[in-house]
Symmetry: C2
Subunit: 208 residues, 2 copies
Amino acid sequence: MKTPTAVLVAARRRDATATRVAILDSARRAFARAGYDGAGVREIASGAGVTAMLVNRYFGSKEQLFTEVVEQTMTSNSLIAGGIMDAPNPGRALAEALVKMTRADIAPLDGFLITFHSASSPSAAKIGRDMIAAHHLKTVAKSLDGKLADERAGLLLAVISGFQVMRQMIALPALANASEEKLVQLLAVVFDGLIQPPAKETGRKKSS
Amino acid sequence: MKTPTAVLVAARRRDATATRVAILDSARRAFARAGYDGAGVREIASGAGVTAMLVNRYFGSKEQLFTEVVEQTMTSNSLIAGGIMDAPNPGRALAEALVKMTRADIAPLDGFLITFHSASSPSAAKIGRDMIAAHHLKTVAKSLDGKLADERAGLLLAVISGFQVMRQMIALPALANASEEKLVQLLAVVFDGLIQPPAKETGRKKSS
DNA sequence: CACGTGAGTCTACGGGCGTAGACATCGATC
DNA sequence: GATCGATGTCTACGCCCGTAGACTCACGTG
């Protein structure tokens, strides 16, 4: 156990932390494009300007690298992460942000999409599921008033996911080429319907 | 060595059409579970009781096999394919059918999920996209009155997809373990909001 | 200026992939 | 009962995968 007094922040050529960041960045792009199985370690390394072995040297294994990428992406770069649910009109705000982030000319780097692209691998799917349940679902559910908060939060995330999947992953023309303002209006109605406490239109025998 | 066990083991004698069906069936299960890249020809063949080469002999290539699987699944086994949009209460009917088909104990063999699992391969994604646009989007849009029919149809499919993805593919606990009746009620409201013609002014204010 | 240490690379291995071509076997026909 | 096409299998090739171990090299320090 030694402390080499590494207080100086010089040395740009052989910079471990900068290399780490570069690998994480390249991995995020690769995983978002091709999923866990589709992205190779050699490809990730090449995108960061290093060799494949260095990736494993820094992150232990491809799976651990994937975990770090998903965690970082879900916490720092998420639609939900910022307090968007506290806006005066959260449905509209959510719709605007969602439509904006799913434009065709924007590389899809979202954590949801990375997870969906990687759902073929059970281990990768579990990592994504746990991350979604831990960060996003809890955040949304806490900001919802009324009953069935968990279910409504889940459906809200489902709508967001479905829109991302159909507009970005599949590039369904009806959504990819539609007018943004019209999409926002339609989406806002859907979101509002889930954000507002549910009306009991059919009689249920649940005590209120 | 030809032993009399031939009679006992004779599950399927040399029957070309039956073998074709068996391969298609096995391929559908494999693609639904692991996506285009994740499912191997050897695995598909093994599930049908044949060898890998026979698969290519019958379907030419893995990609052509995938195309046939997706086409068959989308046309014959789809939520939308049956005239569910013509029901007296299509929103509720859709919600009930969707919740029912996404139960945990039902193997997810839907064409949407196969497509999403396979989105890593550009060619497979294109096959799925074209199939969705050709069959489902057109069907839904034709049954919608009022303006923005294409956009509303796309969003309807997006909600369906998102629900499938979150409940089956990711198995988000909030949706996978929720009460079915409550999910149906919440979903029906969302569907009705998209099925009914859009109001001129959108963006109701939240009153909390 | 030598040197130890950590950053980064090279080579290789075992395995799975899609598929091409030669080979084996069954079943109906003459 | 021999023949022949359809049905199915075997072996092999070339490619890419994740990663383990030995290696090279630059750099801060004495």
